[in-house]
Symmetry: C2
Subunit: 241 residues, 2 copies
């Protein structure tokens, strides 16, 4: 809960019902005492949203997502279902630290300037659309944060994304692999390059965020240690330091 | 401070020195009692980073940025200057809620899926690079969060960005204008469209975040009220609700 905002803690504390997946509910256990807790599961997002709106007609309901609810989280589907229901219920989206920013904070400053986030899950987006998006952002050299990089259901999408990156970038472009960022089971981020990524590809799973640096990103070292990635914003063109 | 994480509050509380602009220091005044506070100003980022590293050799120093320090914030330049100095000083980047997520939370769910952030400041990035990036992301229909949309020094960059959007999008694509998101002087977000943006362009300044929806984004209504933007993730292709 160290990385939740005060506002997020407050609205959960005030709610009568709290709805979410186990993986989002377990870390906030201290906030759940005395509440009605509804545990849902992956793939049941529409059902979860419907249930929440049904309850929200007469109760205060909090739906929890990991990271930021507005980014690959529950905010969108809740609003879609709410709009479709025609109910006029006050709703507040509480922002949070999304995996892009959580992951970046552990890997130096890879997203200092412009960046894009792209999910490799083709459950809701056709794979060819994802490929076109990857090409578009790689073609202009901005860092990309990969969400949902690899799962049992789609073991090949990540390798495909790397193929696309290699069309535009040299092997030296840095890549950060961050597993369970800012969660209890967080492991040290792995800093590698596009050329060497195959050596570590097996550690990538659904709980991993991958940041592929942009054309100006480079490895950040302290002494002899590789510490992360720096994407300079361009101060070095203007200042001496 | 309601939208700061517990960790951010903790590290500032523990610091001996706190360095930042007035606009970032004023909202955290309650945390600053008894500390050495160094007030810097816009455009002095390199100087601020140097000062922080100089002090950090023998003190605990916190540098505050608005939003997330890793996104158009101080993290990058601090690491660049630190690396250049050769000093081996422990450094922690504390992630936060960046303006993209703060702004989106007030405007429905415009960033439900893939998105990009692009700054229109051409102080450190050439304007033609910014234009190419805009075209690339508009060409694949993903929502774009515009940082630094308009200032006295560059009144025309925002209109130029809109011209680029119009090459790819119909006039119906929704746009959200969010001023001082989640700050004390926050105003209600303005929800408009690409076709009507000129009517409200004057309210856009340096403290504004603009979200230009993607090809699938639409206006979100509750009853007769325009409430924000929804970018559906595609659940409607798979589920009935």
């Amino acid at each position: 809960m160290e990385y939740m905002t005060g506002r997020a803690i407050e609205v959960i504390t005030r709610a009568e019902y709290v709805i979410g997946n186990d993986s989002y509910l377990d870390p906030i256990k201290p906030l759940l005492a005395g509440k009605q807790v509804i545990r849902s599961s992956m793939g049941k997002e529409v059902e979860r949203a419907k249930k929440a709106i049904e309850l929200a007609v007469s109760h205060t309901v909090a739906i929890v997502s990991g990271g930021d609810a507005g980014v690959y989280g529950m905010a969108g589907i809740v609003l879609e279902v709410l709009e479709h229901s025609g109910a006029e219920i006050p709703v507040e989206i509480v922002p949070g630290v999304t995996a892009a920013n959580a992951g970046a904070s552990l890997a130096g400053s890879p997203l200092s300037g412009d960046f894009a986030t792209i999910s490799l899950s083709d459950l809701l987006t056709p794979l060819e659309v994802i490929e076109r998006r990857l090409d578009a952002v790689f073609s202009v050299g901005i860092p990309v944060v990969i969400y949902n990089p690899r799962s049992h259901g789609r073991p090949h999408n990540f390798a495909l994304a790397i193929e696309h990156a290699r069309k535009f970038y040299p092997a030296t472009v840095p890549v950060a692999i961050i597993k369970n960022a800012l969660r209890e089971d967080q492991s040290d981020p792995v800093i590698t390059t596009l050329g060497e990524i195959e050596k570590v590809i097996d550690i990538i799973d659904m709980h991993t965020t991958v940041i592929i640096g942009g054309s100006e990103s480079r490895i950040w070292r302290m002494g002899n240690h590789v510490k992360g990635i720096i994407t300079p914003r361009g101060y070095h063109h203007k200042y001496v330091y």
